[in-house]
Symmetry: C2
């Protein structure tokens, strides 16, 4: 216990010292580091791949599924892609030092708000090792020191990747402890780190619901949460039905294991008899298991009966809940009740319906005539993202560089005092 | 226990229903309500003053000091000022619906970020009843429902003020439960409300340190904290010494019981022998008790010896800790170690020193040649504030209307799917 708390404190103290230096580093230095890290990663890919092999060998012992092992596996071309990702972060606009707004007060005081780093970020994530590099790049580019805690399944890969990062930080003249990796899979260390609210400014957990709940419960510092996506596609009575089919298929089937995939279909009753038979053929063709309401099952007879639980489930699989509704209001009401306020899409040619949906659906992203899958940092033009926040505080939806910043107020005067 | 949890749940459910309606209310309706509430407050001032008398009669029983009783006391002119405050909020720019940024992606998707309310705010505060009205005005103007929990010392005043608010909400056609007051001083209710993270979007505690620590520990939803202000005035070797005296006096003495008052003085050793004798005369004249380092006490011999604790104390009184430092670096280092990252000021004519101070001092507001007392919503041009955040997440420094908002991503397409 005490040794884990010592280790946690050491990580946090080193991170804080690094963060103070990082807050005054120039953009050019950060860009240089990212390019050096990318080059070093490619140059040392053999070392990284060998360590990844060790993780792959251990994977069955951790009970990983074939899909999970696939996500864990690194390849030479995968490493090239990760290196390209670092160079893409280097091409983003540095948010640090940006003047958000400024004003001269009647007493002559010049007041401005300037973007600054958050300070120290504690990032907790699961198996995919490329996340190690993306997170390090985003945190350091935004002037933050980061403590990385990856999944135990990827420990050897992450250790190898971290060595590349650390060496390139030293080479680029940035603080060595700008990026630290928790070098043990011991669970207690996370608990100890979550107590250090004076040293760590924010914790970002990305992973399963139970992880995020544990972190939210234990953390003494603010947490940016990334909860489930129970995303809806609502096919309005005024929908272009071919478009609706394409959007439904893409939202549900293009990639199932991600938070912005659709989990639930809502269809306006006025078009159920024309749309649902087409949806039935498409969904059967894609191998999607449907769990529907009574009316859905008139047109999709092979669908299972949906329970209340189905409508609240993030399947992350080729499964879809479905319900026929009698109005836009009912659709909005169901999205509020069963959804997770992540991403919801309406398909309609009716401008008024679209604007009501946009105004009244309280989700991180609301789509009109587009796939739910677009709620993503790259797709929205932010570049890489550290996650998709389901919080309303601080950052909502895709979190890019700006989400990793705070601001300070600066007031420059000539001796002003308050009367 | 169970009845308090029922009551808390009822407040939260009613607040959520109100917040859904409020999110689509027009700016004109909110402005109209604020004016009606201001008029009603003045018209019903006799009722409010009578209830305030009951609180004043109970005040000695709560052990309130004369200064605290003075802050609790309402007068006809005080009520006029509160009403004017409501009208001032009505004149602020409504942040809801503002497009923060927008872009058209290469695939034609039109992506924008639009400001939306946070939803339901739980606001916990201490004695002054005017805060009840300011908080209600700011929350509703930014489209939020609010649950107010004032101090027990102001309960009757707050109940009367809340009746005015509620009646004017109904009169203006806004949801009655947009503003609710916890109508009991039972401590347990706060704990029950802090559990309702699905219903309450953010808790804002404003008061003593122990209150904020309790809320941070118990709250399951995000918290915007308002901790102490251990604010410094650093008099650099290149300071205009007359200006430094004025700024020190104003920062320490203009109002002592507030978070942006200075608590600690740092003086560069190169000017200690010319500046500290002048400071000694000013501080003695103002009746300030000084606790200083050994070098300070050479020029202020009547100063007490400062302990480590003194440098970490928010006196909120005519007391000041003082220390002579040998460099700008030492000043910055001490501010980081002993300060609370709230407000710190440098007095200097040296541009380079000023810019280093601005860049390296990690506080919500950094002042150059100006009083620490300017870290305030009105002084920075935000209008009314709901508090001064010492967090780096979401909102930092003075929190006006914008701090009570989130945003949503809206993507408008013509059938786009992800490839």
């Amino acid at each position: 216990m005490s040794s884990w708390s010592d280790y946690a404190l050491q990580l946090a103290v080193q991170a804080r010292a690094a963060s103070r230096k990082l807050s005054t580093v120039t953009t050019a230095q950060k860009i240089q580091w990212l390019h050096q890290a990318a080059d070093a990663l490619v140059a040392r890919s053999r070392e990284v791949l060998a360590e990844n092999e060790r993780d792959l060998a251990n994977a069955p012992g951790y009970g990983l599924t074939a899909a999970e092992i696939d996500r864990l596996k690194l390849t030479p071309s995968g490493i090239t892609k990760i290196a390209d990702g670092l160079r893409e972060v280097a091409a983003l606009t540095d948010p640090i030092g940006q003047v958000i707004d400024s004003t001269v007060r009647p007493n002559g005081l010049k007041v401005s708000r300037v973007r600054v780093p958050l300070g120290v970020v504690f990032f907790i994530y699961e198996s995919r090792p490329n996340v190690t590099m993306d997170a390090a790049a985003l945190c350091v580019m935004s002037g933050n020191a980061v403590i990385l805690r990856g999944g135990k399944e990827a420990l050897h890969s992450n250790l190898a990747l971290h060595r590349v990062l650390r060496d390139s930080l030293v080479q680029a003249g940035l603080p060595e402890h700008s990026v630290q990796l928790v070098e043990s899979t011991e669970r207690e260390i996370v608990g100890e780190l979550l107590k250090l609210d004076g040293k760590i400014d924010v914790t970002i957990p990305r992973g399963g619901k139970s992880l995020i709940e544990r972190v939210t419960r234990e953390a003494r510092m603010p947490v940016i949460k990334h909860f489930d996506g129970i995303c809806h596609v609502y096919v309005d009575q005024a929908a272009d039905q071919d478009m609706a089919l394409r959007i439904l298929q893409n939202s549900k089937c293009q990639r199932t294991g991600v938070c912005n995939a659709a989990e639930s279909l809502l269809v306006h009753s006025a078009i159920a008899d024309s749309f649902l038979p087409k949806a039935e053929r498409m969904l059967k063709g894609q191998g999607v298991e449907v769990r529907g309401c009574e009316r859905t099952r008139r047109w999709i007879p092979w669908a299972l009966v949906a329970t209340e639980d189905d409508y609240r489930t993030e399947y992350l699989d080729l499964k879809l809940s479905a319900c026929v509704v009698d109005s836009l209001d009912e659709a909005i009401e169901r999205i509020d009740r069963y959804g997770s306020h992540h991403t919801d899409s309406i398909v309609t040619s009716d401008q008024t319906a679209a604007e009501r949906f946009v105004a009244e659906v309280d989700s991180s992203a609301v789509m009109v005539n587009a796939s739910t899958r677009f709620n993503d940092g790259f797709e929205f033009g932010l570049g890489a993202e550290i996650g998709i926040s389901t919080d309303k505080i601080h950052a909502r939806g895709p979190c890019g560089l700006e989400s990793l910043t705070s601001y300070k107020w600066i007031a420059r005067g000539g001796g002003q005092i308050r009367g």
